[in-house]
Subunit: 494 residues, 2 copies
């Protein structure tokens, strides 16, 4: 039976994915500094084995045969999703993949060296090569998948997302934010004039911050028997669903960045820990994609973790672990602080979407060829002035050189961040309709109703639906910017 | 060129071995408790991939072809050692390996459950099944390798070791120890009557003990850029040569068990860290075997770590990290304490060999069929009374049920422990001849001469020679019990 053959294949692939996930997390947390070269060799070899096994030609036959077998609904969904992954993995000739991998690695390396110097001119030829290959890639993917080129790139990260659907939603959001950012800043200025930002009272030992983070993780639903918290330079959520590794980094001079980071990664971890276990070895049992994953992390960080109701419960925890006896009037201005800035990863939830929309617009132009790589800095600067009133023309390190995505050939990824923020707000609105006293529960430290809804609507669904289908089934409607806009107005508006 | 094919094969196998080594170390140190089932599945699948790739039939052709190619001396040695490994891995039919694996896993599981209850009768049928299969295994290995059955089993752990060579050396040692143990105990009693054992003065925080352990590791030569120290229930040395993971466990009521454990594992780690890197992916570049590995750990733990010269350097470290201002007269009775006991892993270096010789003698009888499994407890008890004057007949948990080796079908492994102790003493004697002021260097915290000698004679040799050849090349003579006996007399005698 072909389904059985595919099931065996998925178990083998899962073993290699398990190894790669744990080796990757280990590298960032526990590996000796001198172990990097051999680790890279080992992971490259394992990734090669995985790719060869996952793209073997006989899989096409097994898939075709399995599609004619008598299977139940979940098995059919499993085969469907495996075919989707197989097509996405096999639609590029291996000669092209090798060429692109080399160009990408060279460009990433060069980017790391030149970003610090803000040397755009030195970096341009490498990026130009990457963009040329991405255009080629998008064309090939588009032909195989019957999609527009940019959509074919997005398909790798968020199946079913189409620029034609997203662009108008982003346009609505952009139009709103261009007016709303100044409004939110004015509101904040007025409030801070009356009551300045509460000063941090002392130093915060790492071990205490860690205990606070663990207490919050556990309360919010993180299963500490199936995951752990450690330290890495860049926070991440990695590992495997039965052993989710999240990390943060600590500064002893303040506690909010580590704590909000822990909540963000906890959101990713809850998704992983609650995926359908029976299908863990099939693509069907995996998280749907980048936007949905980001919606889960932002749900915990923004919808829960920056919700005043949450702090009713959390303030006593803060006092218990860090000795900070803060009031709501002390904490909220910190967790709701808004600022215009040049750097996407430092942005708050009000300004962040403008960073993403700028990139989304530029990368669509880049992929289509309407924008030349050399013209990026001016185009970037013009949009940055328009959307946030800031200029980046003199320092490309704070402009188009700030992100690894383009040097790494990851075009079509950026929209996921803001789609995730919008989907989180839309999920919150649907949840609040289904569970009217959701704030009261959170204020009392009870997250079971919230998590029950999310488990049913999102986590347990794995990769059964496309990204837009999953959202619509969970919330009853298509992606709608109004929920996110309403959320920002309520939290930051006049 | 076939050598190139073998080189590529070794790189692939190395990647899987890297993954298995890190996943194994991670499981014991950082894995979430609930992650065990999936980890076991993943490791079994990776081990299966490794076994399939390492035993592929075409390797026989490549080996045969490579043996006719024009290769330099190291390449020829690499091919020779790879053939040895290939023959050892392929000499059992896979049908048999599966049957044995199942029996072994069942028996190990049962052993874990029944050992606590001391239920020998309940465990006997499972062990009997394992022994029957080991006899079959030994016969098949013996035929393929042209060795005696027991030697064919030892060949897996220590290539070149032969019972006919070891038995007389063990007999010498046994004859000596049966008289020497009472002598050493009398000497100790007399000394303790004059000056009782120094009491431990307080509690020893884990973090302080860890810092002391790290300081000693680094001083003795552990490269902290290529390895780390963490905590696990059973101390071990794992990982890969570029990233050696050693562990210990701490009790806050005393500091010597964790510290001596760190020194022991550091001995293993130094061997791994100093293997020939160019051959890391070939069996040639690996540690020679269990006895040589144990000789390296015991060299650091016993020859260095319990040497009075070492404590001249170490006592100020003890005071610095733990606040214990001890004299030589305080510390030496602790690190040289001797006691008769039933449990091998708790034994000191004087009594330990008798535990091993007892097992070596019994397992030779078991493998040959001269001893029946059901008769083990009586045979064990008789030897234990004869060698150490203790009885185990009423509690098999403290007798033949104490070790995992036999339930796990690892026959031929036990001799390695005592061969390691003897080889360490023989290496120390050869080193002391080559470096006459070795004690003065150690007393001053200088380990470069010691490590330079060991690097040249042992570590850099990888698996180039059989175990007896390596020892003879390093020390100028065959295994000779007199060095170990001399060491014990000097340290513990009247």
């Amino acid at each position: 039976m072909s389904f059985k053959k595919l099931d065996d294949l998925c178990r083998k692939l899962e073993a290699l994915e398990h190894a790669l996930a744990i080796l990757g997390a280990d590298e960032a947390t526990h590996m000796a500094v001198g172990g990097g070269e051999k680790r890279a060799e080992a992971m490259a070899a394992l990734a090669g084995m995985h790719h060869r096994q996952a793209t073997a030609p006989e899989i096409a036959d097994w898939l075709a045969a399995a599609e004619t077998e008598e299977l139940d609904e979940m098995q059919r969904a499993a085969v469907r999703e495996l075919r989707r992954q197989y097509v996405n993995m096999t639609c590029l000739p291996s000669e092209f993949v090798e060429r692109q991998t080399q160009a990408r690695m060279r460009s990433e390396q060069l980017w790391r060296d030149l970003r610090a110097k803000g040397d755009w001119a030195g970096f341009l030829p490498a990026l130009d090569g990457v963009v040329a290959l991405v255009r080629e890639e998008a064309q090939m993917r588009a032909e195989k998948l019957g999609l527009d080129p940019y959509d074919a790139l997005m398909e790798q990260y968020d199946p079913g997302n189409r620029a034609a659907d997203i662009a108008p939603v982003f346009d609505d959001l952009k139009a709103f934010l261009k007016d709303f950012v100044p409004e939110a800043l004015a509101v904040q200025e007025e409030r801070l004039a009356k009551r300045p930002l509460k000063a941090l009272s002392g130093t915060y030992p790492v071990e205490r911050q860690r205990e606070l983070g663990l207490a919050m993780m556990a309360a919010v639903g993180f299963d500490l028997t199936h995951g752990s918290l450690s330290v890495s330079h860049h926070p991440f959520c990695g590992g495997v669903p039965t052993d989710v590794r999240i990390t943060t980094r600590y500064r002893t001079t303040e506690f909010l960045s580590a704590l909000m980071g822990v909540l963000h990664e906890t959101g990713h971890a809850l998704y992983e820990q609650n995926l359908p276990q029976d299908w863990a070895h099939w693509p069907l049992g995996r998280a749907r994609g980048m936007a949905v994953h980001e919606s889960q992390s932002l749900f915990v960080e923004k919808q829960i973790g920056r919700n005043p109701a949450f702090w009713q419960w959390a303030l006593p925890r803060l006092e218990e672990h860090l000795g900070e006896a803060w009031s709501m009037e002390d904490i909220l201005p910190h967790v709701h602080h808004v600022a215009r800035g040049l750097i996407r990863v430092d942005a708050d939830e009000v300004t962040y979407p403008l960073h993403v929309i700028l990139r989304f617009e530029l990368e669509r132009e880049l992929v289509s060829g309407r924008l030349a790589t050399k013209d990026i800095p001016e185009a970037w600067d013009a949009k940055m002035r328009d959307y946030l009133g800031l200029s980046t023309i003199d320092d490309p390190a704070d402009g188009p050189m700030q992100d690894v995505h383009w040097p790494g050939a990851a075009f079509g990824y950026f929209p996921s961040y803001t789609l995730g923020a919008m989907m989180a707000a839309q999920q919150w609105a649907a949840l609040a309709k289904a569970v009217p006293d959701v704030d009261a529960g959170i204020a009392a430290g009870r997250f079971d109703a919230v998590n029950g809804w999310r488990r049913e609507k999102i986590w347990s669904q794995g990769s059964r639906w496309s990204t837009p289908e999953l959202l619509e089934r969970a919330t009853g409607e298509k992606l709608n910017a109004e929920y996110f806009i309403g959320h920002l107005k309520a939290r930051y508006g006049a």
